[in-house]
């Protein structure tokens, strides 16, 4: 174990340094060595953490050999050369299983690659495995996986958050420096916060969802995890941009790093409805964010107090819109063309209904029922149309807020990581974990979660930066400036990877 996590281990450098060393022919570090080191760490730690559902050494080593061959041939293998990449198991990697942590897709292997995965690999990344998630990305703890929960590397009796909990745990534990996730209501930012790393929910339309198993198509975005803002940016820069295979993608300014912003003159907004100091267990999270706000003011930033009244309705709105879209998207799982098929069905109708009952887990069924009801005859106006109107109005409230400030700052989650099993029998309590994240998806705006110290139990907390459409490059600039100003950042969990 010691050698796996030795000081100055190549996997614990920044992505930029790692890739530069692989690209430098005079440096002895090869992509195959980096990938081998990541595979060794996964081998040693995955039984404990269950971050990966599937490890893909053949795929990773083949990609690493291609990178090393390009270096030897004097070609540029790309900005992520040789960097091990973990991929949430709702994104397609050809030749590897794609399960969505569901029995219904337990034996599914996609023939093509997700655009985000293909672009990361084209930039030199090497896919070391597929990470655990709540089934079909429905959940906030990764306990809804049909294949067992993932554990938080800071305290293995606690959840890593979700739904991209496997990706967050893998990066936090240093098993892979980068990971891809998806965020429909907070599924990148919430686990990033609970695992003390950086996670980015990009603007709707920045990253292609081609090859992402659809959950709620007007909310889903693919995004990166990294130990620092710079690492997350490197992956986001590789995967961003229009894609003919996803009609919702569009060109927007690149997230490439720009001049670091001066904190003097920054106008940051504090939204009254995002204050969790009075929420049970929320005092530590709000106090941690308040500490950062004080540092910002000391550096010359201006505080802007705001109210966005519709934020209080974002959970009810989200839990109509997302299940409604999910009930429609998941209609494709019928036991006919792919996925699990019930064996004892004697009619086409029972083939559908039994295959779906056997294949889907309880939370997925619950969301399908919520969504089907919200769209059903006699109820669609009261629920779905009402929620969509609230969504339009919420977007207008964010637009107005960003006329008065450059960025909104809040906690990412009301509390740090909760215990495994603590909320698994209470679906509504689990839904309320998303209270600080779903509004960004409803509005289509970007938001970044960055480490914000520890709570009184020593568990990581997250701070969330929200910006207007297309601003995630600036949010990442600000994240880096904040980390430099406050000293807050990734701290490796005991027994795992070292500093990035």
């Amino acid at each position: 174990m010691d050698a796996l996590f030795a000081p100055n281990h190549p996997l614990d450098q920044s992505v930029a340094v790692m890739a530069a060393r692989v690209r430098d022919r005079s440096d002895s570090l090869s992509a195959q060595e980096l990938v081998g080191a990541a595979l060794a760490r996964i081998e040693a730690c995955n039984a404990d953490l269950h971050a990966f559902l599937c490890v893909t050494p053949e795929i990773a080593l083949e990609q690493a050999r291609a990178v090393d061959a390009a270096v030897q041939a004097g070609q540029d293998p790309g900005p992520l050369a040789g960097v091990p990449l973990a991929v949430k198991d709702n994104l397609a990697v050809p030749g590897a299983p794609l399960t969505c942590a569901s029995r219904i897709l337990a034996n599914y292997t996609p023939p093509t690659a997700a655009t985000s995965v293909a672009r990361a690999v084209a930039a030199g990344a090497c896919v070391v495995g597929k990470t655990n998630l709540d089934e079909f990305a429905m959940g906030s703890s990764t306990e809804n996986s049909a294949f067992g929960a993932t554990r938080n590397p800071y305290d293995r009796t606690r959840v890593p958050g979700g739904s991209s909990g496997g990706s967050a745990a893998a990066v936090a534990a240093g098993l892979a420096p980068l990971a891809l996730g998806s965020d429909t209501g907070g599924s990148i930012r919430q686990p990033a916060a609970l695992c003390g790393i950086v996670g980015v929910k990009p603007t709707y339309g920045r990253v292609s969802r081609n090859g992402l198993v659809a959950f709620a198509s007007s909310l889903d975005q693919v995004g990166p995890f990294g130990r620092t803002a710079a690492d997350a940016r490197a992956l986001l820069q590789a995967i961003e941009g229009p894609d003919d295979a996803d009609a919702t993608t569009r060109a927007m300014p690149s997230v490439a790093a720009s001049t670091p912003p001066s904190l003097a003159g920054l106008r940051y907004g504090t939204v009254r409805e995002f204050d969790v100091s009075q929420v049970p267990g929320g005092a530590d999270a709000e106090a941690a964010v308040d500490g950062v706000r004080a540092r910002l003011r000391a550096a010359g930033a201006t505080a802007v107090d705001l109210s966005l009244p519709l934020v209080t309705g974002s959970i009810p709105v989200y839990y109509i819109v997302a299940p409604a879209e999910a009930s429609s998207n998941l209609a494709r799982f019928d036991g006919v063309r792919y996925g699990h098929r019930a064996h004892d069905a004697n009619s086409l109708e029972s083939l559908y209904a039994r295959s779906r009952d056997e294949g889907f887990g309880t939370e997925v069924k619950r969301r399908i029922l919520i969504g089907t009801f919200a769209l059903s005859s006699g109820y669609a106006d009261a629920y779905y149309k009402r929620a969509m109107a609230a969504r339009t109005a919420l977007r207008a409230q964010f637009d107005a807020a960003f006329k008065r400030c450059d960025v909104l700052i809040s906690a990412t989650t009301p509390t740090s990581a909760f215990a495994l099993g603590e909320k698994s029998d209470d679906p509504l309590a689990m839904y309320l974990c998303d209270v600080l994240t779903v509004a960004a998806n409803l509005a289509g705006i970007p938001a970044v979660s960055i480490p914000c110290g520890r709570d009184s139990r020593g568990l990581p907390l997250g701070l969330q930066l929200w910006g207007p459409v297309g601003s995630e490059g600036r949010l990442l600039d600000l994240a880096a400036a904040l980390a430099a100003e406050t000293g807050l950042g990734y701290e490796a969990p005991t027994g795992y990877g070292g500093p990035a």
Binding site: A247, G313, Y338, G339, R341, A345, N346, T362, I368, R386
Partner: protein, 101 residues
């Protein structure tokens, strides 16, 4: 919103989910609590906001109506639960009389 077993069974039928009796019994109190919360949407002040906007950003461009590469038959059938040659196999769903018609 009153949610009872009859409503859960009706919605499950619409969703083509064959729930067990135990699943139906569990869903009633869970969905009741969830909808008690979700019903807050009725009280939100949304002004005259338009519910018709489907996506958070406008779809300025649709791709051209040009055929592109498609999956080959082998790839399409590689994950099929049951197939015969180029065809997916499903249980028989016409009776003999309608079959002949």
């Amino acid at each position: 919103m009153d949610i009872d077993e009859t409503l859960v069974r009706h919605v499950a039928r619409l969703a083509r989910l064959e729930l067990t009796d135990g699943e139906v019994a569990d869903m009633v109190p869970q969905l009741s609590r969830i909808f008690a919360h979700v019903d807050q949407v009725q009280d939100l002040d949304v002004g005259d906001a338009d519910p018709a906007t489907q996506a958070p950003v406008g779809l300025e461009t649709l791709r051209g109506d040009e055929p592109g590469p498609v999956l080959g038959l082998r790839d399409v059938l590689s994950n099929a639960p049951d197939h015969d040659g180029a065809f997916l196999v499903v249980p028989r769903f016409f009776d003999d009389a309608s079959d002949e018609g």
